[in-house]
């Protein structure tokens, strides 16, 4: 099992620079620096947060809304992507509109959503879902468009119904592109989740970071930064594993696009 995991990760000795950086930081900042406290102080601050009972609900809130928003966004993006992708006419008519919407930075959605829908967890999940759905939608449309027309000839010659065609050919053929979109959506969703928390004050790690910043508690801020880093890394790893498992039956791709 460990062996299988390590195929996703580069050699461990590559962590040396990071460890070195932290070690040097620890030693250089023996005198308490207000802005760049040493790593051991981060740990203390986090432990304090945890024992005060503030850490766990925040992490849970962040993770839960992230997962819900991402799942919703991927499902919506995939469904809409299929809808748009399977019709050449719809694709052409919507192409410019989609290009413009794609160019909109996701953060911009937040004030709009807040203004229209107010401050609530469901607004937060909706915003995460909307921003996450874009890469999924666009990649799914591209995936459908790339299905060789020969496959559709095959479907017709086998006299498959439209539903059978969709299920046995279109959807499986689009899965690799869909997963590419999900990978992008993952990082966008992380950013959006934290940003919503920082902007609206809805519960989560982002709020804790802002509170720490306002209280000039740099150790807490750095500690939370490290936690966010670890979480982001783990989420990416989980995705890579899931993607690897799902894509086992597809021919190997010629290299990821990101």
């Amino acid at each position: 099992m460990i062996r299988r995991l390590t195929q996703f990760m580069p050699p461990a000795r590559g962590l040396a620079p990071l460890v070195l950086l932290l070690a040097v930081w620890e030693m250089v900042q023996r005198g308490a620096s207000p802005n760049f406290p040493r790593p051991s102080l981060w740990w203390t601050a986090i432990v304090n947060l945890a024992s005060s009972g503030a850490l766990r609900p925040a992490v849970e809130a962040t993770l839960w809304t992230f997962v819900a928003g991402l799942a919703l966004g991927c499902a919506a993006g995939f469904a809409l992507g299929l809808l748009i992708g399977t019709s050449v006419a719809v694709r052409q008519w919507s192409s410019l509109l989609l290009e413009f919407l794609r160019a909109l930075p996701p953060p911009v959605t937040i004030p709009i959503a807040v203004l229209i829908a107010g401050y609530s967890p469901s607004m937060k999940i909706a915003v995460i879902a909307i921003t996450a759905s874009w890469p999924v939608l666009l990649n799914t449309v591209a995936g459908v468009a790339n299905i060789r027309s020969l496959l559709f000839d095959v479907a017709r010659s086998l006299r498959l119904s439209r539903a059978e065609s969709l299920w046995t050919i279109v959807i499986p053929a689009t899965i690799p592109d869909f997963l590419l979109g999900v990978r992008v959506a993952l990082s966008i969703a992380i950013i959006t989740t934290l940003l919503v928390e920082m902007f609206t004050g809805l519960p989560g790690i982002g709020v804790l970071m802002i509170l720490g910043q306002r209280a000039y508690d740099s150790a807490q801020v750095f500690g939370l930064l490290a936690i966010v880093g670890v979480l982001a890394f783990l989420l990416g790893l989980i995705f890579a594993i899931v993607e690897g498992v799902v894509l086992r039956r597809w021919p190997p791709r010629h290299g990821a696009l990101r």
């Binding site: 020969l150 086998l158 006299r159 050919i169 039956r249």
Partner: protein, 255 residues
């Protein structure tokens, strides 16, 4: 002897980039039950388009095209197609067995399906590859998977669009013989498109020459060489060599 396909004055025009282009003009021939009709012609004469008409994938612009006496209005029951591009004609994410299963008629029950798939894979020599994925197999094997998919529903007609063109010479020869053997066992009629004259003679009961642009059937040769055929000796027979000459001239005679 029943007539499977009957074409009279069939013409086909397709719109390419907004302009109409004539692909086929005045094609007339018929295919009898149980025969192998090979259609040979140079590139650009509309061979693939003709096959697509027979397959019901396109509709002709004018003329009559009948399958068992009734006009064709779409892909027909009992007609199976094997395409040249096996990589994109197979579902690469499905196992060989599941790819073949796609060709099965709906109403079969689970045991029946398994049995049919097994038998057909045995027929093409792939019984040990049922669990493999197409992308793990060689070109020749992938093409055999496509043939198996076509055969699993026990079709009365097999339409093949230059199926061996993308394969190396040895694999091509092996598959040609395999096709003849399979035909003996299943008794299907075959319409086989190729640009390879020798292949056309080797496989066919009759060879139809598609020539000109837009294309038309200019001559049909009866192949009076008996079955079973042999890769080396058959190709040395005087009749074979004579036909090769004549067909070559028939193709080249039209610009």
């Amino acid at each position: 002897m029943q007539t499977i396909f009957d074409l009279e004055n069939v013409a086909l025009s397709l719109s390419v980039n907004g302009a109409a282009r004539a692909i086929l003009r005045d094609v007339s021939f018929s295919v009898a039950q149980g025969e192998i009709l090979t259609i040979v012609g140079a590139s650009g004469t509309g061979k693939t388009s003709l096959l697509r008409l027979l397959a019901g994938l396109n509709r002709q612009t004018s003329g009559t095209l009948n399958f068992r006496g009734t006009p064709i209005d779409g892909p027909q029951d009992g007609v199976a197609i094997v395409f040249q591009d096996y990589t994109n004609a197979l579902l690469q994410w499905r196992t060989v067995g599941n790819n073949v299963a796609l060709g099965l008629p709906r109403k079969l029950d689970r045991a029946g399906r398994a049995a049919r798939i097994g038998d057909t894979l045995r027929l093409v020599g792939l019984e040990r590859n049922a669990g493999d994925y197409p992308w793990q197999l060689s070109g020749g094997m992938q093409q055999r998977v496509q043939i198996a998919r076509a055969l699993v529903a026990d079709p009365s007609v097999l339409l093949m669009d230059e199926p061996f063109a993308a394969l190396d010479a040895m694999t091509k020869a092996a598959l040609q013989d395999e096709l003849l053997r399979v035909r003996d066992e299943t008794d299907a009629s075959i319409v086989f498109i190729t640009h390879d004259i020798e292949e056309a003679i080797y496989l066919g009961n009759r060879v139809a020459v598609l020539a000109g642009s837009p294309g038309a059937i200019t001559r049909i040769f009866a192949i009076d060489i008996p079955f079973p055929r042999h890769q080396v000796t058959t190709r040395e027979r005087p009749a074979f060599l004579r036909l090769r000459h004549e067909i070559h001239d028939a193709i080249g005679g039209h610009a």
